[in-house]
Symmetry: C2
Subunit: 149 residues, 2 copies
């Protein structure tokens, strides 16, 4: 299932990375804020509000590290900054994003149906596919009401 603090500690030990309080705090922020698509600045804000000391550069370095380790997944909604979420290793949790073009709200959508498509693409394209990302753009229910009225 989802990464927890002990898993992280073990991953770090294996690779001789050090488990620092900053790294713990950052992972904890993701655990405390599920399904939030947090940016570096978001994390920085969350952690500082909880009165922990932390430099912004450290946030960037940690997000980079955790992405390489595939603890986090980097996503891009085109709003000029990178965003991250905990990488659900269980493929059952593969989900996609619905982005409202009016208010910018991002909703999640669970899905497995893409596996078939992925196989077809792999065959035709000669790519060995390891991951996919699917985004839908449209109007969320609230904004749709505004538009239609």
């Amino acid at each position: 299932m989802t990464m927890n603090m002990n898993d992280l500690r073990n991953m770090f030990r294996e690779r001789q990375y050090k488990m620092t309080s900053q790294r713990q705090t950052i992972l904890q922020a993701f655990i405390d804020n599920p399904a939030q698509h947090l940016s570096a600045e978001d994390i920085y804000g969350i952690v500082r509000k909880e009165s922990s000391e932390l430099g912004l550069a450290t946030v960037y370095r940690t997000l980079e590290l955790l992405s390489e380790l595939e603890v986090l997944q980097k996503i891009d909604f085109g709003d000029g900054r990178h965003r991250y979420e905990i990488n659900e290793t269980s493929s059952l949790h593969h989900h996609h994003h619905l982005i409202c073009v009016l208010c910018g709200k991002v909703k999640e959508f669970e899905d497995d149906l893409l596996e078939t498509l992925e196989n077809a693409v792999a065959l035709k394209s000669n790519f060995k596919i390891i991951d996919h990302q699917l985004k839908f753009y449209g109007y969320c229910s609230e904004c749709r009401d505004k538009v239609e009225s």
Copy 2:
């Protein structure tokens, strides 16, 4: 089919935008370089090589404008800059991107199969979906050889 210079002129007239030589040159650069995912800097380079005068700020402003008009589509491959391609209005030309995680090469993939999924998502989510974007990550044929050997 794809946008041409006259279509653009008409769109501009309708909205009282002005058709300037810079805007023409920029659209022309997209027409001359199909399937290229050009960044602002790319366009700037292409145009200047052809000895036309043009400021980088104008490129950014024009790309923004053409995206709003849906003449261009903004895409993001996570390489730190926005990229654009001509928006194929014909849904037959809906295509997706295969991104190699090793060499960064981007290949295109044609597809219609997503319509079904889109409908399912619309129903379940209460979103009115107007567009989607699908990216596959993996190893291209060349890089796969390197990895497997």
